[in-house]
Point group: C2
Chain length 299, copies 2
């Protein structure tokens, strides 16, 4: 029931109304693995530069994450800088330095190849496909993507989409990928490309799940204080995949609970900068907020 | 258990990707009354010009709406023109001609004065207060407002807010009214001004209800086709107030069901231009979509 997570490991500079931090742990694979680690043994795949602090690896290991697939290359770690606007729902990218991530070509350690659950965070669709081809018999694989690949690598993206069971995508990208402004029709069009399960992320408005049973709407948790929205979508994916893998089921009910687990993990993620909230977060707190989501939505 | 609804009666020109219509029935009081008419006897208050087509009054009367409070004045009816963008979540106002609405000063017919439920759609807060002072002993009163009054008539707005039990407001206006970018804190600040129940409208993302029991998140219904978003917020308020008045209860459960009824009515409203969907909509369809909302949110 292991979960393989492939994606970026980064050092982030973040400016937000609540403060500024520099060279903090970031990257989709970091957020996603830490979130899924609350549910299931997670095997991470990524690359760091030789400037990557040992303390970050120690933190990931402390969450029980298998780091055999995280290699250390000569050069600088992927760095990203962003500045959030006052409302927190918009941000400017200050810089993106790919560093060693530019030559990232994921090779899975032998002990990862029997994984039943695979999450491909946002990397080149050709690399995502390469990972899928390494894993022997995944039960459920899902991927993220972004505008850059939709515009520039559509043929490879469609080839990869045809091979995955789930796509996690934000609302603007879903419209861009399909040319449909209506999200219900956009989800139909995406499902026609391959994935049977489509999750449309809507930031502070939560997410919509489209699957064979219909549509499910998950709100984002209304928080009194948000420090740093970075990684919310990634920790969402981690909560979703971790919940699925731990339950071992792909029924509509299991998928819906997994989307709520995603939203729970995302809600904790944004309470502090970087992955700091996960340094103290317990499984009991996750279960408590899951119940709060029932109260938030029950009528 | 009567419901009084006060607001604009208008003739709208609407341009949207699905088509264009001219001089169709519009106005907050029209949308709101027609929506609430599915639940409770509704007493409308508004003004039309002498150019207002009898067929529109006939339609409102056919929904059982009491039109004793809708006066006919010499001059032109309030006219509004809008053009929606392709995504439907943005629009440009093409023109606003207040006509007889500019001198609207609502006087309630004697038989309205014992109403238990009052909804004050978006008009000058001084006029809203004037209506409240006419009704003898309302059990629950709620109001809408807009950026124009928040900027230009704050003192009168705050005076009116101190007198109502509920405020219906969109997210940007909630932030503008309170200076709080975080919606949870903005709702706290609004509740400190008077209303115990605050409903924050988020367009295609649904609504948040804040009351003494906490927060409740209602999604918008994911529709495959939207023709005309005009009036969704108003028919929402009508569904909400009508549901409350029909149930006769103000418990947290009743408020939550009422928010879902709002979302149900809004979802039908946008399926056709103007109020056209309500020309055929039945109570059975409303009840069926209410159950669909359970499936949409249950986990």
């Amino acid at each position: 029931m292991g979960l393989v997570v492939v994606g970026s490991v980064a050092l982030d500079d973040i400016e937000a109304p609540a403060g500024s931090v520099k060279s903090v742990l970031g990257g989709a694979a970091s957020y996603c693995s830490v979130a899924s680690s609350y549910f299931v043994r997670t095997q991470a795949v990524g690359v760091t530069g030789d400037d990557f602090p040992q303390e970050h690896l120690d933190f990931l290991a402390s969450r029980g994450i298998d780091l055999a697939g995280v290699t250390r290359a000569q050069g600088r770690t992927f760095r990203w800088g962003g500045r959030y606007h006052a409302s927190l729902n918009q941000r400017d990218t200050l810089f993106t330095e790919l560093g060693v991530f530019e030559r990232f070509d994921p090779v899975l350690p032998p002990e990862y190849l029997d994984a039943e659950w695979v999450f491909l965070a946002n990397i080149h669709p050709r690399l995502q496909l390469g990972v899928l081809e390494q894993v022997r018999a995944p039960r459920f694989s899902a991927m993220d993507t972004m505008n850059f690949w939709i515009e520039g690598s559509r043929a490879e993206l469609e080839k990869t989409l045809a091979r995955v069971a789930g796509l996690v995508i934000n609302d603007d990208e879903a419209r861009q990928l399909t040319g449909e402004s209506n999200l219900v029709r956009a989800a139909d069009a995406i499902r026609a490309l391959g994935p049977t399960t489509v999750i449309v992320k809507r930031g502070e408005h939560g997410a919509l799940l489209f699957d064979e049973a219909g549509v499910f709407a998950a709100p984002a948790f209304p928080l009194r204080e948000v420090q740093d929205p970075t990684g919310a979508g990634d920790s969402f994916a981690g909560g979703f995949m971790g919940s699925l893998a731990a339950g071992g089921s792909l029924t509509p009910d299991a998928l819906r609970r997994a989307v709520i687990h995603w939203s729970v993990l995302a809600s904790f993620c944004v309470e502090r900068f970087s992955l700091d909230r996960f340094r103290t977060l317990t499984r009991a707190e996750i279960d408590e907020r899951f119940e709060q989501f029932r109260r938030l939505t029950r009528f």
